[in-house]
Symmetry: C2
Subunit: 613 residues, 2 copies
Amino acid sequence: MLYILRVCVGNAFVSFIGSEDRTPKKRFSEVQKERREQAQRTVLIHCPNKISEKKFLKYLSQHGPVNSHFFYESFGLYAVVEFSQKESVVSLQNVTRTPSLGTEAAIPFRSRYFNLKLKTPLNQTSEQSSIQCRNQSSPSSKKLFELLCCAESVDDQLNTLLREFQLTEENSKLRYLTCSLIEDVAAAYFPGCTVRPFGSSVNSFGKLGCDLDMFLDLDEIENFSTHKASGNFLMEFQVKNVPSERIATQKILSVIGECLDHFGPGCVGVQKILNARCPLVRFSHQASGFQCDLTTNNRIALKSSELLYIYGALDSRVRALVFSIRCWARAHSLTSSIPGAWITNFSLTVMVIFFLQRRSPPILPTLDYLKTLADRELQPFALLHISVPSPEVALSSCLLSLPGERPHDHGREDTPSPKACLVNATFSVGKRPEIGGGSQCSVTVRHAEDKCIIEGHNCTFVRDFNRIKPSGNAETLELLLKEFFEYFGNFAFNKNSINIRQGREQNKPESSPLHIQNPFETSLNVSKNVSQSQLQKFIDLARESAWILHQEDRDRLSPSNNQPWGLAALLLPSVANSTSLAKKKKKPASERIKNLLESIKSSSTENSTAANG
Amino acid sequence: MLYILRVCVGNAFVSFIGSEDRTPKKRFSEVQKERREQAQRTVLIHCPNKISEKKFLKYLSQHGPVNSHFFYESFGLYAVVEFSQKESVVSLQNVTRTPSLGTEAAIPFRSRYFNLKLKTPLNQTSEQSSIQCRNQSSPSSKKLFELLCCAESVDDQLNTLLREFQLTEENSKLRYLTCSLIEDVAAAYFPGCTVRPFGSSVNSFGKLGCDLDMFLDLDEIENFSTHKASGNFLMEFQVKNVPSERIATQKILSVIGECLDHFGPGCVGVQKILNARCPLVRFSHQASGFQCDLTTNNRIALKSSELLYIYGALDSRVRALVFSIRCWARAHSLTSSIPGAWITNFSLTVMVIFFLQRRSPPILPTLDYLKTLADRELQPFALLHISVPSPEVALSSCLLSLPGERPHDHGREDTPSPKACLVNATFSVGKRPEIGGGSQCSVTVRHAEDKCIIEGHNCTFVRDFNRIKPSGNAETLELLLKEFFEYFGNFAFNKNSINIRQGREQNKPESSPLHIQNPFETSLNVSKNVSQSQLQKFIDLARESAWILHQEDRDRLSPSNNQPWGLAALLLPSVANSTSLAKKKKKPASERIKNLLESIKSSSTENSTAANG
């Protein structure tokens, strides 16, 4: 019998046929899931320098169709090959041998990282190697300057910088593949575990060459078991117990660190940093060139990544502005790759988001607003035309069809935090001759999958882009860049805290020079590490940059093509910067710029109280 | 078409129909293989103290038929359950959950070691727990004395001791299961690896409660791959290289030690002893109660185990005598569970074997003789009546049918040491109407599977019991026991080395007090550790025991049933032993016994030169 599922929200019927009607913007969780699945079908092959691409592909396709592939250069030539099916990987592994070495000994390990050898070297005349390699690193400063100087406008400059620095499709694949290879190592002991990338690799703000943060997610291991109730018996695995989750984490990371160090192909420089607040294993994955940090359950960090991903996707100006500000900060040593009193990229990104929330009209919504949207009842996704034996099955099919959800998450009372819950199901079964004579049932679904509480912190926000209205603000990137520098050049850092949850300054709850509220763990300051002198340097440079852009506005009619201009000019060693080296001159230079700024600026944005720390 | 395979040795045709005609004594390799396969289908379950056996079995048989099971007590009640099929284990695992603990944290790990809980405690009145537990330990001294005193003769005493101390079927299963559980841990990283028990657990000389020695065998990993030749390409796994095999061993053991320590359910007290000559990981497997030593590739030790297994199986008196001598040595603290200057059980066993080789006629053959047998052409095992398309297939089927061999070991040129090799194959295909009109082909097979060279040492000996003639010697155990003490009470330890390879004394090549040649690594002395004083203690005790047995012979007509007699008398604290505590009296006592012995003995066996070390 054909049941028609008509899913209603409140009292208003809404019909979707399939999921084709949805907007092309993918949810974060969908992207993660797709990429991960893709990575599991993918292998990494170290190739000889001279190789015929055609023969290489022919050789591999013996094991099944190849979906995509690309080459890149690291320490040698590497290929990333994505098969259509997982089985192809197994087939390839089955014809692969462990190398026999002369004087050295090999530690046998079957992974998806291979070493291809040629039995006889390639005949160079007949088969010209013309492998096209995909670049995996960001452009040099020289190249960047050339590109920026050739741009048509400051807006074009910011978009160019974004295009050149953002992660490419290939680099993203390589990141997910690397996580997947590490997952294989961890899955040896924890079948069903997931190694998830987070941070800049996935939040859409990462630049080529950035570190690869990943965490070992053991939460889903439990879903492996079906928990069949069987009379009076309950079977459990015999396991080791330790006094706390932290000790469990440390032990797990310690052993995985040992494995990576001793067996992990291409994993070098393994450091176990287990006594940190968030214990981690740091290592370098040689073949991909990534510096990796592996932690365990870091769900809040993943949630932060998702939030940035959403902010980055809401308006095309966000990422362009963030990349440029980060690049500017790096050029002036405001950020650093080593830990210390420097501002972090995350802090800078939050500052940009905050700035965009403060525009009028705002370019980005506040986090509280995104949370409010999540709390409302959501529209369900699909009207199903399926042949099912009963309304009950129809209902469960409906739940199954919710994107990003796994069947067993629903209706199970032992699932601690179901991502979607059914509030009210009413069935009205009746003939619907107009669509094939099937019967009809209606189901009211309260779509609460956005609700998310992690370790007591409310991390709920809407995850569906379709439900966030685009901004009515049409300001140019050029204006936003200039205003950003002016805004923070005059921000009352001594009194106020930056808070993207409410989108307005708050009184600082503590005396750190720079206070940026952690969006989820709201009692924390994400920039607690920043020293007064680093903050002052940031302020000075922001003011100088605002001044430079203002000066250019004046001279706009006579641009000399040989001179760096716009964004390029901001990346040059600054007056403030060079004077900060010769510290004695610092104060006057800073004063000079401040005075200049004040003389220039008349109709400023709100809260333009001068900040002198 | 039906080909008849007639397999010839030299020119003489020998026909075997099937393998039913073979003697029931199983080869060592067959036992190992069967036990291992059995262990892989077996699970270990920690049970509640009160449990209904019937319901327990019914619950488990949901996952497939149960071949056998038994219960035992360790720290709680345990069940060892052998399923008929491996799939049943997977099925059981799939309904098993990781425990959720209150304040503690669990390190999730899916093994074959389970913890069964009852949802509600068993109703004690309706279901009386009447679980029969299998004993896993040797009898107490008191119990042993009772049993020995009740025996009918000294021969009966020795056989009783053997029966009480030898590993039971259940204990053997538990040992193989424990290895199999450790193999699962190792196989997480080394798929295709094997953890093999060796030493007393498998050489048929182990007593209940003895340590469980095992080694990680990575040699067969290579057989996983089919090495498909494919054009010019050769695919290898990317692996870590280290400067030597020893370092590879240390790294592998180190990581496995970490895993056992942190994840291994029931593995406690893990010690990594990596700088030893043979690096090892020592741990206690709580549930089975075994003290385990894990090494890597220890093939010579396994070969030694096989040699002892063969010696133990050749004559029923061997094991009875060895068990009694070992028990006697332990009772007098000649052996110890801690390393030191004590004689080892292995040394004692070799001494018994040597003694039995020296009898006239010999009870056991020399190792050199066993090697000579192996070097001869062997009889193949089966005449196959199979329907095959060609003589070539018939031949390969013939090779496949060789017991204990895996198909891919044959005919592959890249196998480093094929266990059986075909020297000469001749086919004479013709009609053989008398057995169904099939055709006939003859194959000459040189059955060289016994050949075994390990690390340059020739460890070849015949592995087929059928080819060793039983001894014509019919001496009683009582006589052999007495003669053993006399023989070694008078052995010229100062001059001579014990050598079971040649079965006769050799001049000592070095000055260690006790010299027993390692059977395979012939330049080594297996008793290098034994001090002069320990050797002297052994000699004194042997003399005293010989004297006690001689005394009993005299008093045989008036045995007082309340007094320990025969073997039981030998296990009592000795005069020599007690005087060794009061050292001043030692010499006279020793002298006294020596004089007594000499006065008693007249027609001694050969080489009865008195030894005073």
